[in-house]
């Protein structure tokens, strides 16, 4: 059995599975139950000036029979006094000394406010701090959360203020509601962050009730934007994690967050640069015990791969994530239909004919049976047919030799640039 323990910038935990700062980590009762279930760490629901929440707060997006494909919330940070939370953090840490207890913090962007809360929280023995610069609703209107996190200079300054007094590692949690998350990540590093975590939730409106015309959710007939998370956001989060991981100036470890629901998701986030991961929506959907399956699955996977430690996964796919301009234009795959598995639903033909490159023909074979066949020379290898195909193993995308040496777009443009000189300006016009 592999070693699942991790060390994120000095914060140690028995496994990489942490609960994210959110409703599941609101109280000591919940966090202790989570640790009993197997979670290796928890980021305590954000501490700050206690707020007042609305009723209702949550909404889900169901898609094609899958419940909670996406999840939307307008809940804010803790609504309990700091002292109450601190007592429970102290008790939790005492009971679970080897688990990671990280306090998420959010206060007004002033040096005094940050110094005050950091000192009080560290006094009860937390293993680290996570600065919440990401919450997109409610707190942002007061100049906190995403309002701070969208301004790189404020991210840097606030991180710096925290580092002035912090004695434990500082994680900066980043908002995805920004054009380029590596900018704020870099400023967090410049401010002295020991690690970053991403992503926080994405600005969202879960829906509109077409009968009442109310927003979903609504509070007495009115709604406001919330934060979107759950499986639907995973590709967005994974890209942002990867972009940070491959950026040369983002030199700190990453705690990956965003739609992680299975052990396979965990592996993907770790391969793309995460040292640890955080989960919220999946625990809210299925309960704390989903971590059992995650631990088993990850253990089996590591054994199958012959890896002694989960830390060996971190960052292994980062070098495979590149810029479009550096991809080989002469690499080629084509679709091949396996008649034995094809159910002749024609979805591939329709998809290709209507929305791709018209290269799947409907034919009749020698026995008079209807078959589908790809004209490989016309196939651009877009994958669409295999994506829409409902029959397992009916369409394979296979690599073929284009007969041409590798050449990227950037390399090609250099060639074109070197050849364009023979055309005069008059000819260009």
């Amino acid at each position: 059995m592999a070693d699942l323990s991790i060390d994120l910038a000095g914060i140690k935990s028995p496994n990489p599975f942490w609960l994210a700062s959110a409703p599941p980590t609101n109280t000591g009762y919940q966090v202790q139950r989570a640790f009993e279930a197997g979670w290796g760490g928890a980021v305590w629901k954000t501490l700050g000036d206690p707020i007042i929440n609305t009723s209702s707060r949550f909404a889900a997006v169901n898609f094609n029979g899958q419940r909670v494909a996406g999840f939307n919330n307008i809940e804010l940070i803790t609504d309990r006094p700091l002292d109450v939370n601190l007592k429970e953090i102290y008790e939790t840490k005492k009971r679970f000394p080897n688990h990671a207890v990280v306090a998420s913090l959010m206060v007004e962007p002033t040096q005094e406010k940050w110094h005050e809360i950091v000192k009080r929280v560290e006094d009860v023995g937390v293993d680290g701090l996570e600065l919440n610069f990401g919450c997109p609703h409610g707190m942002a209107e007061r100049g906190m959360g995403a309002a701070s996190g969208q301004q790189p200079d404020l991210v840097e300054a606030q991180t710096y203020w925290v580092k002035e007094v912090a004695t434990t590692p500082v994680i900066v949690k980043l908002t995805p509601n920004i054009t380029d998350i590596t900018v704020t990540a870099r400023h967090a590093v410049k401010g002295g962050a020991d690690a970053i975590s991403l992503i926080n939730t994405i600005n969202s409106l879960a829906g509109v009730d077409i009968h009442s015309w109310n927003t979903i959710p609504h509070i007495g007939g009115k709604g406001a934007h919330g934060g979107y998370c759950g499986p639907a956001v995973k590709p967005i989060a994974l890209n942002m994690v990867a972009e940070c991981a491959r950026h040369p100036e983002v030199t700190v470890p990453i705690s990956g967050i965003g739609g992680i629901s299975t052990w396979q998701d965990v592996v993907e986030f770790m391969l793309m640069g995460s040292t640890a991961i955080q989960v919220c929506t999946a625990a809210m959907h299925h309960g704390f015990r989903i971590v059992e399956e995650m631990i088993d699955g990850l253990n089996n996977y590591l054994d199958e791969k012959g890896l002694a430690s989960v830390t060996e996964l971190t960052g292994k796919s980062v070098s495979k994530y590149s810029n479009w301009g550096d991809l080989n234009l002469n690499y080629k795959v084509v679709a091949r239909i396996n008649e034995d598995n094809c159910i002749n639903c024609n979805k591939c033909h329709i998809a290709c004919e209507d929305t791709s490159h018209q290269c799947i023909d409907m034919l009749t074979n020698a026995e008079g049976k209807a078959i589908l066949k790809v004209r490989e020379e016309d196939c651009v290898g877009c994958n669409l047919c295999s994506i829409v195909c409902p029959a397992e193993g009916a369409i394979d995308m296979v690599e073929v030799d284009s007969g041409l040496p590798p050449m990227t777009w950037n390399e090609r443009q250099r060639v074109v640039g070197s050849l364009s000189g023979s055309y005069s300006k008059a000819e260009v016009v």
Binding site: M407, L419, S422
Partner: protein, 73 residues
Amino acid sequence: MSAYDEFAKEKQEIDALLDQGYTVTGMLETLDGAKVKFGSGEPAKGSVELLLLTADARKYVTTLVFAGLQKAQ
């Protein structure tokens, strides 16, 4: 005509010029395709220009030049 056939036709024209001893001496990409100038060491032959429309032909011709440059290095 299939996309491949359109490419094959343009590739044939490129290959034919190369077989006749021409080399790619200029290229200009425009909204209407790539103008490719082929020149020859023999003055009598002069230069020939093709307007390549297909993506695969535009890729093919630049790959040939790129590979040639790689080989020369």
